[in-house]
Amino acid sequence: MEVTDSLVNNLANLARLEFNEQEKELIKKDLQQMIGFVDKLKELDTTGVAPLLHMSEAMNRLRDDEVRGSASREEALQNAPETDGTYFRVPKVIKK
């Protein structure tokens, strides 16, 4: 399949990444190459094969619903680029 500009733009948006014009050409080429490579799987007949969803055979590992320790607010905010001491701060979401 052909990797078009609109496919690249759509994927970049989904992945929250941006590419300048030069990078866009490069990522298009790389994606084209990689998709061509993984297209090989189309040769295999997988009719009726159940997809493997979990590597572990354990299912529903339950535990009692009790309060356990977790990170304190100070710890949770310790690595944040910007906080007001209580919350993480981000650029304004709703604009006038």
Binding site: L17, V38, K40, L44, P51, M55
Partner: protein, 482 residues
């Protein structure tokens, strides 16, 4: 002068008073300085390691019993969380980050008396097989600095290779422990998926990731595995049964084994002829020693790398969505931007190219319209691979493969050809796709002066038999040092 052979010998010397933990740490800190140009370490905890060593020496002299990793000097890959220490996955997006908790494996190491001397360089987010893609710059192979050390855990491999620590931890999603061990001439173990808790391991592809162990010998590897394995309430995919006492059972009497190998792999034109030749020679020696060697046809060989790349990039694109510049790490500040632009700019400036490329492919295979054709199909192929693997291990005790098609190659050689780079993972991704344990045993020296080994796999959760046969093979078939 301090000389290291094994944890057992080190402990004997500590008990006899002929060495001390402080002497060991001092020696390794000097070694790290001497080999600084190889760029294996990203952070060195010199003062802290010396202080721990002194307090352990004092405790031992006061008569305290020695815990199993007492004074053992360990380096950990920069993807494993060590509380209050820097953790960045060799990425600019985690610049300045310090972990607020310990990985379960680290807690267990510290509880057993280990001394963590530093964190090691790797490919960004463990994505790569050359250690050329790191925000801290590339790592060089200590045997020949013009060659790659392998990756992604290149720093951890070189740290053990050049005697900068006794053992080290890496992570293995598609060969990132076994392949650098192969290129550096040391032992590298990737245990069964779920054997070691992944809590505190920065996620790349969660259904593939497993912490692995680098060492110079099998008994050290077995002991560390025994300490850090086991069930964990913080990782529901961790195996619920306690590990066996591997280190105490290594000398079990060897019985004749039924060993399989993939004919397609050994006959592959992509495999270096000298590596193929030495493997065939190993097979005949094994047969002479009473084992049964059987070629097994493996019709899926050409499909395993594409399957691996679809599934791991899909999981990576999802796992790496948490890096948004809000909660931790790097943030790109531009006051005029709205939230969406802020995410895009932060992530685009924070991630390196290889990571962005994999996130893009992962987003593609998961996106509407392509999901079934790529992602679901790859999951179906993974089922075929697991079924086939189960059949093999119903019949055989072990499976033998090369680790890589060649010995360590020159830095920069594969940079322009990503597909060639990905194809070089062909022999290692198999065990991550199927969850079985695999070990890289440094048995051979190539005529080009570089080491290489053999990869051995056993059935899931059969680490004990894997380590037993490894111990035996290392004693019986290892080339004498060049």
């Amino acid at each position: 002068m301090f000389k290291y052979d094994s944890i057992e010998q080190y402990h004997t010397e500590l008990r006899n008073g002929t060495t001390s933990c402080e002497e060991a740490v001092t020696f390794y800190l000097e070694q790290i300085q001497v080999h600084q140009h190889l760029n294996a370490f990203v952070h060195i905890f010199a003062e802290e390691a010396l202080e721990t060593a002194r307090s352990q020496d004092a405790a031992r002299k006061a008569g305290a019993p020695l815990p199993s990793l007492h004074g053992v000097v360990i380096a950990v890959k920069d993807v494993i969380a060590y509380k209050d220490h820097p953790l960045s996955a060799a990425s600019n997006i985690l610049k300045g980050f310090k972990s607020i908790y310990n990985a379960t494996a680290v807690t267990k190491l510290l509880d057993a008396g280990a001394i963590i001397i530093g964190t090691t360089n790797c490919d960004e987010f463990a994505m790569g097989s050359t250690n050329e893609h790191s925000a801290f710059g590339k790592v060089l192979n200590g045997i020949d600095p013009t060659k790659v050390p392998g990756g992604s855990s290149g720093g951890s491999a070189v740290a053990v290779q050049m005697d900068c620590c006794m053992v080290s931890l890496g992570s293995d999603t598609g060969g990132s422990v076994r392949q650098p061990a192969d290129f550096c001439g040391i032992v590298g173990l990737k245990p069964t998926y779920g054997r070691i808790s992944r809590y505190g391991l920065i996620a790349y592809a969660s259904s593939f990731d497993q912490i692995g162990i680098f060492s110079k010998n099998i008994p050290d590897n077995a002991l560390v595995l025994e300490v850090i394995s086991g069930p964990d309430e913080f990782d529901s995919t961790a195996h619920t049964e306690a590990p066996e006492a591997y280190s105490k059972a290594l000398k079990a009497p060897g019985k004749p084994l039924k060993i399989a190998y993939f004919k397609e792999a050994i006959d592959s034109p992509a495999l270096d002829p000298e590596i193929a030749g030495r493997l065939r020679e190993l097979f005949s020696r094994l047969e002479k020693d009473g084992h049964q060697l059987c070629p097994v046809s493996f019709e899926y060989l050409d499909y395993i790398v594409p399957t691996y790349y679809i599934l791991t990039t899909a999981e990576a694109s999802s796992n790496l969505s948490r890096f948004d510049g809000v909660k931790y790490g790097f943030r790109h500040v531009d006051k005029k931007n709205d939230l969406n632009e802020f995410y895009c700019q932060t992530r685009s400036k924070g991630f390196g190219w290889e990571v962005k490329k994999r996130i893009m492919l992962g987003s593609f295979v998961l996106s509407s319209g392509y999901y079934d054709a790529y992602f679901t199909r790859a999951q179906q192929v993974r089922r075929l691979l697991v079924d086939k693997t189960n059949l093999i291990f119903n019949q055989f005790d072990a499976l033998v493969l090369p680790n890589a098609p060649s010995t360590a190659f020159p830095i920069g050689e594969k940079s322009d050809d990503p597909i060639a780079m990905y194809l070089a993972d062909i022999f290692t991704v198999f065990s991550n796709l199927t969850g079985v344990p695999g070990i890289s045993l440094p048995l051979f020296w190539h005529s080009n002066g570089l080491p290489f080994g053999v990869q051995v796999m056993t059935n899931r959760f059969s680490e004990l038999s894997l380590l037993q046969l490894s111990n035996q093979w290392m004693a019986a078939y290892k080339d004498s040092k060049q």
